[in-house]
Subunit: 513 residues, 2 copies
Amino acid sequence: MKGAESLVRTLTGCGVEVCFANPGTSEMHFVAALDRVGGMRAVLCLFEGVVSGAADGYARMSGRPAATLLHCGPGLANALANLHNARRARTPMVNIVGDQATYHRPFDAPLTADTEGWARPVSGFVRTVTSAASLGRDAAVAVQAARTSPGQIATLILPADVAWNEGGEVAEALPVPSPPTASPDRIRQVAHVLRRGEPAALLLDGAVLADEAALASAYRIASATGARLLAPFSCARIVRGRGRVPLERVHYPVDAALKQLAGLRYLILVGARPPVGFFAYPGKPSRLYPEECTLEVLARPEQDAGLALANLADELEAPRVTPPDPGPRPEPARGRISPEGVAQTLAALMPEAAVIVDESISFGRGFFAGTHAAPPHDWLQIVGGAIGAGVPLATGAAIGAPGRRVIALEADGSAMYTLQGLWTQARERLDVTTVIFSNRKYAILLYELSQVGTNPGRTALDLMDLGNPELDWVRLAGGMGVEAARAETLEAFGDLLAQSFRRRGPFLIELVI
Amino acid sequence: MKGAESLVRTLTGCGVEVCFANPGTSEMHFVAALDRVGGMRAVLCLFEGVVSGAADGYARMSGRPAATLLHCGPGLANALANLHNARRARTPMVNIVGDQATYHRPFDAPLTADTEGWARPVSGFVRTVTSAASLGRDAAVAVQAARTSPGQIATLILPADVAWNEGGEVAEALPVPSPPTASPDRIRQVAHVLRRGEPAALLLDGAVLADEAALASAYRIASATGARLLAPFSCARIVRGRGRVPLERVHYPVDAALKQLAGLRYLILVGARPPVGFFAYPGKPSRLYPEECTLEVLARPEQDAGLALANLADELEAPRVTPPDPGPRPEPARGRISPEGVAQTLAALMPEAAVIVDESISFGRGFFAGTHAAPPHDWLQIVGGAIGAGVPLATGAAIGAPGRRVIALEADGSAMYTLQGLWTQARERLDVTTVIFSNRKYAILLYELSQVGTNPGRTALDLMDLGNPELDWVRLAGGMGVEAARAETLEAFGDLLAQSFRRRGPFLIELVI
């Protein structure tokens, strides 16, 4: 058996069923093996940044790692920004990166690059496979590494001759270790702190945000102790909406976050890291919590935070409580387009179990708060801050959560990074509604420039201006086979949104704001 | 003076006059300094792969390094594939990569990444600046490094506080060392070999390919000794066309290249590296030259190969000769679209001093041979083999060679990687004619798959198929403000080509093949 075949068989045997791919010459044996073996859905993407972002979205929704198929060093390089985002989201993923044949590599042919060097900063596991005989075992270890809590990126570098050589052996799936549990001492210590009744908050991150039972435990704790429930500004996946536990997200602007967390005496980290600013600003602190606030770790990111929350709620003898009623579901908004009106219209119209991918950057800061009264839905964000995540995430999420409508909320500048993902949505007929917030500028940078304290001149303004020429998203989407339309009022937006939910396949709405 | 201002003043003082930019928050002080200082043309690109490819194209045509402005680690990551290409093309370039403030970095905020680790494999020089006071000097050293023969990529990582702190000092330009010269012994040894009259070839690469005087020396040598004149399959820039020295490029397919170089006894490397296959194939050699062929180095890549050629021609007492007449300029071809017909039409219609950017991959293999009778023009290629170079290269070349028509020959699959470059062409009103060879497949991969020796099945074929849905390049270009039209015959192609040459600004022709 060729190495490539042993790889495909091992991956499918380990439960890896989808491969997002942009193959090149050195991956042809893997492609041929996909053909022969079956059992792996191959999804073609026209740029590697789409490949890695889609694998991230798929895993966030399905809970299972996808494979990526990438071509040599530069192909991996194109995937890195969304691998960075996936790493920050603790997404399990198995990258298969083709490379020069082992004996050809020393000749330093044009595409030869430092593949391992580029892979390492985003990967929890990197291995260059050296023989067809070991490839199956290496792949099983990679899947195991990817699935080990809290989830990580495993990169397998596959020299062409390792793929084409005979002697491949299929390996069995390796057991995935259970996440470590928080010690009873930790639970008691946090309970002790919370019983004091001083201003406290639980900051939740990771799998608990997508786990209704864990959020219910957190809500018991909050209700019994008065502690606030917080989530980071950017989260991999939050289950929310009507009937679910409401969470407050830490604000992005440093001043707003400092105000939000002012007065806290205890911040309990539940799978979360201490909140810090996305960026530093002259004269402003890096930490977003008060100096006098004590950090307590209930569960580290790799620990079972859901169990820790349940144990803490029991330790506190906190009664079960029903989440508060978010009030009546709003009606679609009318008139001029505003962030509040968009949020209201989304809340009014989104179907049950929608998956929201939020890369709306500056325009969408209020969307989260404005959509809690919507039917139950999931909220996915760009966690690592590298823009260009949204269109790919939505693409992968639709494959990871079939039957659910994905709604991608996209800033125009961010969507341009990886617009090629729209083509894959058309090809795979994915139920994705993309909303482009077309402000024709890098609005967040205008805000950031204002923080610099100088009046921007022509050069600076030009560098933030996407309006010359204006991007025409209806044509861009149409050019990739995605039907699209433009809306300039909230009524038109609502009509298009509702239309898109009634049909199968992708649709794009350019919202001129 | 703020660090950022000292940086801009130092760069312009060192002759860096263009900055291709996709800034982010941490670069706002650099942007503000661009405003204040003047003298640096800032060109906005909507994706970092366009930034780095455009800087490559600019430097290839102008001979001067451009600066790039990139945002943190993931922004650099998006630029890496085209930095890889630029490194292989030995292009001088100065990257300014913003980063977290020095004191904020330990907090590992979401966008924090291993910026140095990603930069190193593509850079001849990497430095993270540590203080505003040293920034000017560090920048001068970076420009010097970029300009040192044979040209390299210098990456300066700029923490936000280094940019915003006071204490910046403008540094003067540092002298660029002259390229080392080949020793008289080398010249005599190569002359000795060539006088034997055995089958020999000179393989030229680097600056000599863009240097008419150097090519004239090479042609004297070839005429006097019978040696063939070769260039690698992929070259940064070749000056060619009517009245110029014709060069034979080494073929891409291994079998064809082996046949082409069969029988050679001596291969003289002139700024070139030994020719090897782009990829390895089972049972085929890595080296493209015969085992019995002796390699002789006339000039290493960093040496002055033009001088070495002149000295060798003199040593051989080779008379000056006029390049051969390539025959009459062809008429535009008619009828069904074919590679030969496209080449003929290009040769017939391209204006004097056109700049051809060739990323036509499989369809364009014969374009080079078919255009030698065209007026004098330059030929630029994707040197590192990482597709997605062409649209950005053309964008930068048009800025580096104002007044000359740039013609980008683009495979559809490759053009999709960095299509965002079209927007910058529209914004800057660049004289670029892009021709998309729309075969709606990864044709080169179908060829490569055929080399694997199996009959491709549905999965494999799907992974090479860009036709479902079809990309509509007229709409894609229009969506970014570039006028475009489709051609399905050679007559229509010729008409659109001629039209595009008569107007200013960009135009795109989708050639359905």
